[in-house]
Symmetry: D3
Subunit: 186 residues, 6 copies
Amino acid sequence: MQLGKKIVRALFVGRFQPIHLGHMEALRIILEAVDELIIVIGSSQKSHELDNPFTAGERISMVRAALDEMKIAPSRYYLIPVPDSTMHSSWVSTVIAYCPPFHIVYSNEPLTRRLFREAERTVQGIPLFQRKLYSATEIRQRILTGKTWRTLLPKGVVAVIEEIKGVERLRELAETDSPFTKKLQV
Amino acid sequence: MQLGKKIVRALFVGRFQPIHLGHMEALRIILEAVDELIIVIGSSQKSHELDNPFTAGERISMVRAALDEMKIAPSRYYLIPVPDSTMHSSWVSTVIAYCPPFHIVYSNEPLTRRLFREAERTVQGIPLFQRKLYSATEIRQRILTGKTWRTLLPKGVVAVIEEIKGVERLRELAETDSPFTKKLQV
Amino acid sequence: MQLGKKIVRALFVGRFQPIHLGHMEALRIILEAVDELIIVIGSSQKSHELDNPFTAGERISMVRAALDEMKIAPSRYYLIPVPDSTMHSSWVSTVIAYCPPFHIVYSNEPLTRRLFREAERTVQGIPLFQRKLYSATEIRQRILTGKTWRTLLPKGVVAVIEEIKGVERLRELAETDSPFTKKLQV
Amino acid sequence: MQLGKKIVRALFVGRFQPIHLGHMEALRIILEAVDELIIVIGSSQKSHELDNPFTAGERISMVRAALDEMKIAPSRYYLIPVPDSTMHSSWVSTVIAYCPPFHIVYSNEPLTRRLFREAERTVQGIPLFQRKLYSATEIRQRILTGKTWRTLLPKGVVAVIEEIKGVERLRELAETDSPFTKKLQV
Amino acid sequence: MQLGKKIVRALFVGRFQPIHLGHMEALRIILEAVDELIIVIGSSQKSHELDNPFTAGERISMVRAALDEMKIAPSRYYLIPVPDSTMHSSWVSTVIAYCPPFHIVYSNEPLTRRLFREAERTVQGIPLFQRKLYSATEIRQRILTGKTWRTLLPKGVVAVIEEIKGVERLRELAETDSPFTKKLQV
Amino acid sequence: MQLGKKIVRALFVGRFQPIHLGHMEALRIILEAVDELIIVIGSSQKSHELDNPFTAGERISMVRAALDEMKIAPSRYYLIPVPDSTMHSSWVSTVIAYCPPFHIVYSNEPLTRRLFREAERTVQGIPLFQRKLYSATEIRQRILTGKTWRTLLPKGVVAVIEEIKGVERLRELAETDSPFTKKLQV
């Protein structure tokens, strides 16, 4: 698809398990640089795993709430869940098929960067904000161990997690050492 | 997920190949009755078939353009592509996993209605507007045979179809009688 | 797996949409000839289609009810749902992986016969009982059009169909001419 | 499906790699409390892995042998292999589609418990019998290392394992440190 | 991958069910124009269907035999089976991932042409030789109905079909009007 | 398929990530013992992972280059990419469907050996040449850490890796500790 001349549209891929203040800072900076942003909810088919506790629908609620809180109008962005591909080498074409056309990809994730660059797309890094602290892995860990985590997320995201009893879900998923948990999903 | 007390959110499922003025009339009526609407782009993995010519991304562009034209703010709706499920009996749970929570499903499609009702969801019909004329099947047929079709679509949708050379795509897909076309996709 | 010397175990594959008196007659004859029978519920992932209206679980309920009615003890048979395979050429190995070992395959279905014979398995035909009348296709057609169908099924199967509102389901599935119905399932 | 008034049917999910005396004790207790039991053979598509050495068919043979040994008639239970689902959030609907209707789920496995509870199903724990010892993981480990394992299983299960040369299979699977073993299955 | 300067490598996609003298003529002409040719065996996962009777392995045997007969050295070509993709829009990236790099695509098949052109690849038509007669559909039809077909194929292909009892297979597959045949493969 | 009397055809399965001098030595020895060899490129759908960096097409280029260098004519072998199977127990039937008929399987990989032996195929070991050194795992590790690796590969393979910037790809894939990398592929 040819893009209209004046609009610059960027792509940002994340799993958002969950979206946190580090993501928000990156989104704010990107939205200053471009007209429209496509936010891809990656691994959309996943949920109920320690590394991927939330469904695509729950993550969409969280991202929308977070952007509302930051006063970013939904007309500025697209929020699109994209399932994983069976072949890494087909993943970029899957993203392209699921999304309106875009000019630039923002990512710090090496595999995402690599795959888009091999597909001859422009890829740009994101200035990260206290990466160690503002990391979804760190946040899931804190939820599990009962350490402070609410301050690392937008308030609306905390509200969604509480509404869906996300803390309880994460802790239950961690309760087992059974290989079944890992094996359930193909 | 528990829903907030005051907001009523509805679900509307379609393939939107392409979205037309009949859909628009239905969306207008539903949006008068509910606070927020989730518009599911069904069979999101499909494209480049006579019955499913457009990609999910192209359909998202079309729906957004159509709703903009009708002055419906993106804050009123979610636009969510959902891939088909290998089992009909798992399709409702797939939709639920991909979407924020909803109270009511609007649909005239018998299978959609049946599956949601078996899942004990409230399903409501949609007042249809000149169904024979405003039908995606009819429109694809008219594009193929060169009959008037632009007047059946929102202007923004016509613009997207022209930008992506959709007429040419549809006609090329029709050019063959080879079983290969039907067989390519598993 | 080596089989014990004295027991002869046979395999019978069907979709059982639904099981009818023709199947029952075949099962009766086979169970006179062998010690144990594995009844495979084929295309187990399918349901809610005109040709495959019932889920695997519903079909298991029907087959068990039908065999109970014929006083065949569950110790004489195994009832095993097997999903379709992406490759016809892997289907026999899928059946073998899902079932206890067996010595002989009973089938009149050309593809089933062909695939098992190419895998060097003994395949035997089934004496059919009024094939035109006792056919699942004929029965689904009669349910749809309101012609007599109950007399073609064991009473327990009729009871299951009524309990799950199977007549209503089949008629609703037939209500549409929309390509969506056919397209929903990948 | 509406259930008949008097019968209580429960569901029990396991991978049974292999079924052992701990499972048997649980099954005995559940079968005292309910009329009929559906035993789901989970991850039915798996075999020939260190954690999942046996095929669904072999596991069906083992469970039937174990229950025969305990004098539990096949009319009391259903033995149903269910493949994993691509989405955890669709797994419960897959189980429901594969099984006759049930009133209660027995499980100690956190993910199983969580998914059924989110689907608003009644879930009950199982009194475990010497969990450390009677664990399939422990048993596979003992088979591999040559420690006593036969006393932890019903005799009929030992017989099936020996008939299919299961000890040899497990040891061969352990022979390699090659990533290929783990990578073979998608 | 950058290609070496001097070699021109082309791609030719077919299902080759079976390869016939029309294909051979096309391959001969292309091999005069380019240095190396990649012959993709499309829909490689299919077999045992009326439209796709032969396995990928059987088709590889046929193509190799046909090219040997035409004295084309295996060093001039690659013979690569490629499975269908779940998404048409990912099919080109699947072909690219399965093949060495290529400069030009030869095809008369509208969907293949369309997908490669949308991916900005050079696509060229093939001069067809008596298309009505030299068509795999026509040949399968003749095999089924017992009309002359051997003269339409290279001798080595006839030999492979006879060795694998292909005529018998095709006729058996045609014997049924049962929906099961069509339904077996997902 | 019946095989011609005089030709002995063997099968050799590998992932070839990448093919190295140890493989070459094995192929040389096998090609002295048999007439024709089928070289299966296993896990053909994989690429862009630390353990599976190269696409099937890149691996085909490498194997062809390596065999050219050893003066083995393409008429002596078939080079066939085979995707993984969802079920280990269907993998052998997948390989059989993708390949011309073969008499013997050469492999040292325990799972491959086990699966072919359970399918009653003749399996033979390969005399390994300095296994610790000539191992794809070792070579990928050396590429990552900057230790000598070129001497362990045929020159043509080194050339392909350099042409596709394989060193850079492997290092980028290693750059992240993010769970996303592992999670991207289903």
